[in-house]
């Protein structure tokens, strides 16, 4: 029977929808899985490993032994500040990093043979007895490659200029210009003593499963001062971007599932409608319901298997094409996809068949044989509420399984629910209203409106399906736009990429002058004082070690200002009037939360050995990833006037301006400059890759959405073709017929666009609030776009799909149907 149906051409529609669904779901799933693993790999570069144990003392050897047993590779680094000498008088405080043989385990080091020279890559650091120096140190120490420099009691040969390290981003602790040396040379220098300010890092890398097993073994054994770093902690900016990108890809994949389900539902409906006559004939020839059910049941299973096989192959090809097309934009190596995408494809095919295709086909068995005599008899094969519930549950289950995220699933389903309920109600009401108004209108309008109304329920359903497809696409476009916009806002091209700390008060003017005359854009110069929060409302806080919860004594940097610092936003309280002498303070939101204080509370501080009490006047919100000077506490200037302060700022340097640092450091040797430009570039690189991936997935989903729209339009083409051909026989011109069709479809598109916009706005609100951790911004521009695109798209698709009726002889159409 399958073969016979295939020849009849009707099975083709269902198979095509199934293959499309499986291909899109499998393709996107494989693509995102591979992309995720690639991006994760990429992100591990920022740790120079898969996992890192950071500690102030050397970690016990048993950790390394255990890692070895689990087939993990390991390396060790040790970072500390130290003076570096050259010749008789040159001496600079440098940030030294000693690395063992296999460092870095992930990513690469870059170096050059001369300061600021041509960049080369290396998979390991300097050999014992040699050092790599920051380019700036060559000038400051007046040395060249091959000269000797001293660290502590040992002497080293300068081998190269160090340029970047994969884990350079690891926090702001890396003060001073970098010196790279070999780990085995540490004892000879004698600079690392018990109590020295040092950071040990043990690096681990290996198969993901082994790393995960190892870290879960390690975690319970960690003591005070030992921390396991993951990607997020290594590089918060990248971590957040990746997390969001991952959610977005999952969101996109879930949309593919929904669109696939809708496409199959549409195809199945058309299939069963067309088969009602067929079944009626079989029944009139004596076939029993049972026989018919068995026939269609086994056909469906065969169909599912064939479609899954074709779909999985097509899906595999799809993702291969993606990676092929975008190989340049995605310089990461895609990881393996594993069997999961194909399992998802298989499950999607059979769930959709069972929940969307089977209910109407099962009822085919009950079709009345009387239809043989009267073809226009109302079909009993109407969908029941149960069908829709079943479909909804199936979609929900698939989405949940696919995304593994209940909130993401919930936000989308709520949006879809709104579309469904609002849609059916609105569409039915409006379509009925259209009838009354339309009666007095000209013939073309009445034709169109009568058509709309006569297929009332079917049209309402069609509106809902169009609306759902449009809504999903709008949601995707909106989320993508706001994600990318936020990333760009976070890291504008001129974002500060260097910090300057430890500026003496009498240097402030000279430095401002020098920055200005060298055309270096900088943030304001802020005073910085370090102190400790000792009490809240006169109640002493415990030390960190004695504390049971979050609330304990905390050290913090603070500043003074008469205005709200740039990039900060007041969320509670009020800013003080300029020149106030009152002991007030403004706290950063998170900081206030951890201390559990509100506006009006009093906090006691210790600055050096001086106590200070201040009342919380306001709470501020700020973006820690803005690369601007940010402070936990801000005081009125007069309150801190008596305390000694240093100053800090951040500024932006273009790559070709780098030599400015040489001049600057010679003139202000005590100022600490922290170079963040490499980090900023790395973050931007990741964001660019992720954005490209998002655009790509968006494109695929848009195509899938368009296909659903086409399927939706096609579902009603038969009856419209039939009516149009009668009209033509009666002498209607093509303009009239196409006009009527255009009005009919455009009206459907208008409702769908309106609904889609409402539901999209609602879903985006939920998604941004629940899932993507972003602030909801209404998008008024969405309304005209959503409505116009719905009207034009559906109108054009409808006319295009029915254009055949005016180009073939009416007799042919009448005969065929």
């Amino acid at each position: 029977m399958l073969a016979r149906d295939w020849r009849g051409g009707e099975l083709g529609i269902l198979v095509a929808a199934l293959v499309l669904a499986v291909a899109v779901v499998t393709g996107i799933s494989a693509f995102t899985t591979r992309l995720q693993s690639a991006l994760e790999q990429e992100s591990h570069r920022f740790l120079a490993a898969d996992a890192v144990l950071s500690s102030t003392r050397q970690a016990p050897g048993e950790f390394v032994e255990e890692a070895g047993r689990r087939d993990l590779r390991t390396a060790t680094t040790l970072s500390f500040p130290s003076m570096i000498f050259a010749g008789e008088e040159a001496m600079i405080l440098a940030s030294v990093k000693a690395a063992s043989d296999h460092y870095p385990l992930r990513g690469e080091l870059t170096y050059s043979s001369e300061p600021f020279g041509e960049v080369k890559t290396a998979t390991r650091g300097p050999q014992p007895g040699t050092v790599w120096l920051d380019s700036r140190l060559f000038a400051l120490l007046n040395v060249t490659v091959g000269d000797k420099v001293g660290i502590g009691e040992a002497e080293f040969v300068v081998e190269a200029a160090t340029r970047t390290e994969p884990d350079q981003a690891a926090g702001l602790s890396s003060f001073g210009p970098r010196v790279l040396m070999h780990y085995s040379d540490i004892p000879a220098t004698g600079v690392v003593q018990p109590g020295s300010r040092v950071e040990y890092r043990q690096l681990y890398a290996g198969a993901p499963a082994s790393v995960e097993a190892f870290t879960s073994w390690l975690e319970p054994q960690l003591e005070n001062g030992q921390r396991l770093l993951d990607v997020d902690q290594g590089q918060p900016g990248v971590g957040r971007a990746l997390a969001r990108a991952e959610r977005f890809l999952l969101l996109a994949g879930s949309l593919a599932v929904v669109l696939a389900g809708v496409a199959i539902a549409l195809a199945a409906r058309r299939f069963s409608e067309r088969h009602t006559d067929y079944v009626a004939i079989m029944k009139s020839l004596g076939a029993q319901s049972r026989v018919i059910n068995r026939l269609y049941g086994s056909s469906l299973i065969m169909l599912g298997l064939v479609a899954t096989a074709i779909g999985c192959t097509a899906g595999w090809a799809l993702q291969a094409v993606f990676f092929g097309l975008f190989a340049d934009q995605l310089p990461v190596t895609p990881g393996p996809a594993g069997p999961r995408p194909y399992a998802i494809g298989f499950a999607t095919a059979f769930t959709c068949l069972l929940c969307f295709a089977w209910p109407p086909l099962r009822r085919l068995g009950q079709a009345s044989p009387l239809r043989v005599l009267r073809r226009d008899m109302p079909s009993e094969n109407r969908r029941t509420l149960g069908d829709y519930l079943l479909g909804f549950v199936a979609i929900a289950g698939l989405m949940w399984w696919y995304s593994g995220d209940i909130r993401l699933t919930g936000a989308l389903l709520l949006g879809l629910g709104v579309t469904g309920v609002l849609g059916l109600g609105l569409a039915l009401t409006l379509l009925r209203g259209g009838r009354l108004v339309g009666m007095s209108a000209g013939s073309i309008w009445r034709l169109a409106l009568a058509g709309l109304q006569r297929r009332g329920t079917a049209n309402a359903l069609q509106v809902v399906i169009f609306a759902m497809a449009i809504m999903l696409l709008l949601v995707l476009v909106l989320v993508r736009t706001s994600l990318i916009r936020e990333w760009q806002a976070q890291l504008p091209a001129d974002a500060p990429n260097h910090f300057m700390l430890n500026i003496a008060p009498d240097e402030v003017q000279d430095i401002e002058q020098m920055l200005r005359s060298s055309d270096v854009p900088s943030e304001a110069i802020y005073p910085m004082i370090r102190g400790r929060v000792m009490s809240v409302n006169a109640e002493p806080l415990p030390t960190r070690d004695d504390a049971t919860g979050e609330r304990h004594q905390r050290g913090a940097n603070f500043t003074w200002s008469d205005t709200v610092p740039a990039g900060n936003e007041l969320v509670a309280g009020q800013w003080w009037p300029a020149g106030t002498e009152e002991a007030l303070v403004s706290l950063e939101e998170e900081f206030a939360l951890r201390l559990n204080v509100k506006v009006g509370d009093r906090i006691g501080l210790l600055i050096g050995s001086e106590p200070l009490e201040a009342t919380v006047a306001s709470i501020r919100k700020l973006d820690w990833q803005s690369f601007r000077p940010n402070f936990f506490m801000v005081f009125p200037p007069k309150v801190l006037a008596a305390f000694p302060a240093t100053f800090m700022t951040s500024f932006h340097l273009e790559p070709e301006q780098k030599p400015f640092l040489n001049t600057f450091i010679r003139r202000f040797p005590t100022v600490t400059v922290i170079e963040m430009d490499v980090v900023v570039e790395q973050v931007r690189g990741i964001v660019d890759q992720v954005s490209a991936a998002i655009e790509l997935v968006l494109g695929v989903i848009l195509a899938a959405g368009a296909l659903v729209l086409v399927a939706g339009v096609r579902a009603s083409v038969d009856s419209r073709m039939y009516e149009s051909s009668i009209l033509r026989a009666l002498g209607a011109r093509r303009g009239l017929i196409l006009g009527g069709l255009a009005i009919e479809f455009a009206a459907l598109g208008l409702f769908a666009g309106l609904l889609a916009t409402v539901a999209a706005e609602f879903s985006v609100y939920l998604l941004q609030a629940w899932v993507l951790d972003m602030r909801y911004v209404p998008s008024p521009w969405l309304w005209p776009i959503g409505i116009a695109s719905g009207t034009l798209l559906i109108g054009a698709l409808g006319v295009f799909s029915c254009r055949g009726v005016v180009s073939s002889p009416p007799l042919a159409v009448l005969r065929e149907l």
Partner: protein, 220 residues
């Protein structure tokens, strides 16, 4: 009135051309009633479609009252149909979206007639359906649907009426009633009637019978 010259119609079928009509020549005078008879597959309906301008011949031409149909494009033929031609089909072909009244009004509106509503009401009354103006086709029986179709066909007062097996889907009593109506209205309006039928009784009511055999006219 209607003149067919060397009408040929071939359709591609399984890679080769199938000749349905093999050079038909005929003439039908104004006001004449003609039945086209023949076995299934002899090409009756194809001939009707060509005469009515619903399809284009492969070669040859159809001239109606001086207008050469094959010289017109589809829109031209549509305008010509709206002005001059009415149809009654075997399967009624009413628009399911429209009520009986609206179905009858349709050709009048296509002609741009102002009194479409009253005309349509008049013709529905004429076919004894005055009580069912606002019913949809699915709410009508087969005989009633065909009566609506007849009302629709005559409402526009066409010069020529084409009927394709008008009684084919109806029982014999209903069929007879339909035939009565058809000929009554035909007489009242002096319409030229061309009908395709299997029904010998119906064929006999016509002034002339054209016998088609395997795509060719045979003399009776």
């Amino acid at each position: 009135m209607i003149r067919a010259e060397n009408l040929q119609k071939t359709v591609p079928m399984g890679g080769r051309e199938l000749e349905i009509l093999k050079g038909i020549n005929l003439e039908i005078k104004s006001g004449e009633t003609v039945a086209v008879v023949g076995a299934s597959g002899s090409g009756k309906s194809t001939l009707l479609g060509l005469l009515a301008g619903l399809d284009e011949p492969s070669t040859g031409r159809v001239v109606i009252g001086g207008t050469d149909l094959s010289a017109l494009d589809e829109d031209g033929r549509a305008a010509f149909r709206a002005e001059n031609v009415g149809f009654v089909f075997q399967s009624f072909q009413l628009l399911p979206a429209l009520t009986a009244l609206e179905n009858v009004m349709l050709p009048l509106e296509l002609k741009g007639q102002q009194d479409a509503l009253s005309q349509a009401e008049h013709f529905l009354q004429r076919v004894e359906l005055a009580q069912r103006l606002d019913h949809y086709p699915r709410q009508l029986s087969g005989g009633e649907q065909q009566r609506v179709a007849i009302a629709r066909a005559f409402a526009a007062r066409p010069e020529i009426l084409f009927a394709d097996e008008p009684t084919g889907n109806l029982d014999s009593r209903t069929g007879e009633h339909i035939i009565e109506l058809l000929f009554q209205l035909n007489q009242e309006h002096g319409t030229t009637l061309v009908l395709v039928t299997h029904d010998l009784k119906l064929a006999e009511r016509c002034q002339r019978r054209l016998q088609l055999e395997a795509g060719e006219l045979v003399v009776t």
